[in-house]
Symmetry: C2
Subunit: 234 residues, 2 copies
């Protein structure tokens, strides 16, 4: 197919496709004339993946390029693919972007109370990870922020969160292991790691509201908004 | 204290403090002359909270203003405070920002395969929530994206993720319930909801790497990088 057809098939504008080609997010088509190239189903799939990473996963173009490179490197061990995907995910924390990028090559040092809590947690749970795992600094920073705001009581959530993280990681790896071959496994690692945060955050918002109604019922007389389960359109 | 002292106490520059005042993120000080005002400990605390929301939580200024308004509205039911905090959290998905803001006032309709999976999940788990809960559309969108990318196998994670979300929500609400008074409870709702996503995402990255080493050991001969637990600095 021509670029205009690739554009129609993916609903992505031609200038954007050209940008993806320049940024090496999309592999070149087969050249048919000095000004034309032919694209195929592999290009359609790649464009869909890039859109999902950027639009739904919130990944930057630079990080998407790292992911595509990992995808094309057949020799990269799966645990390293995980690392690339993890570092690509925009942390929910805006300003963590900068530090997180640097942290990619920096060993974690438990040099704050939050850091020591995370280190203890890793030992308690038998979590054996690289000292440059980006989650270490991110989790430590949140705990230190809780303290700075005078909310040490929030540290009490740590073990339940860790149990939840283990459950999620177990499901993530089971999905990877169920893939039929190495290419598909790499794909599942990337898509599941990058988009899984958004899925988990979404489910947390639902569970949180359900639990808050259980614990703190609305005061009598408050107009009851439409609940999902009573919505006739469902 | 004067504004310069508030700046020193919070490590936030004076022009930024003036911006917070204009944007109603910070309450006015007590005026002592036409050009001067006096600030106190409540201002220090507020500035710290605003910084945490914006820097660590990745919340926009507009959403931070909603949160501060909720904080100052003593009549707002706690479940509504949760709603404000949930909607303020930047979704891990970049492009979800726009739709999520609109979704704040839009009822969820299970009009896609992902939406129906989420609706079924809510029924299965007995999650009773408003139809405008922002997590519904966010979770549905991720599932639909998995499908669009040909990764239906990733739907298998849903029940484990939901179990994890319930565990996290239980811990969140227990932390809220442990606060001594209504002001503090509101604060814990906001801080825990906004920063909890980053904590959970960080722990997920750690658990995922630990689990991936268990399931997929590095090939023999691969140089072993420094693992956290063997790091002598720990």
């Amino acid at each position: 197919m021509r670029m205009s057809e690739l554009s129609a098939a993916t609903a992505v504008a031609v200038p954007t496709l050209k940008f993806y080609l320049r940024e090496q997010l999309l592999h070149a088509g087969e050249r048919t004339s000095p000004n034309q190239a032919r694209y195929d189903e592999t290009h359609v799939e790649r464009v869909r993946l890039v859109r999902a990473l950027i639009d739904v996963g919130g990944v930057s173009v630079a990080r998407a390029r790292d992911i595509i490179a990992a995808l094309e490197n057949d020799a990269m061990p799966l645990s390293s693919v995980f690392g690339v995907a993890q570092r690509a995910v925009t942390p929910p924390a805006g300003a963590l972007n900068g530090p997180a990028d640097e942290a990619a090559s920096t060993a974690f040092t438990a040099d704050s109370p939050g850091g020591r809590l995370i280190l203890d947690l890793c030992r308690r749970r038998g979590w054996s990870v690289h000292s440059n795992n980006p989650g270490l600094a991110q989790a430590a920073r949140v705990l230190d922020t809780y303290s700075a705001l005078g909310h040490d009581r929030l540290h009490a959530v740590l073990d339940d969160y860790a149990e939840a993280a283990d459950r999620v990681a177990g499901a993530d790896l089971a999905a990877v292991a169920s893939a039929p071959d190495r290419d598909e496994m790499t794909n599942v690692v990337i898509v599941g790691t990058v988009l899984g945060d958004a899925l988990l955050a979404g489910l947390r918002r639902i569970a949180q509201e359900a639990e808050s109604f259980r614990r703190f019922p609305l005061p009598a007389g408050t107009p009851t908004p439409t609940l999902l389960e009573t919505d006739p359109s469902c």
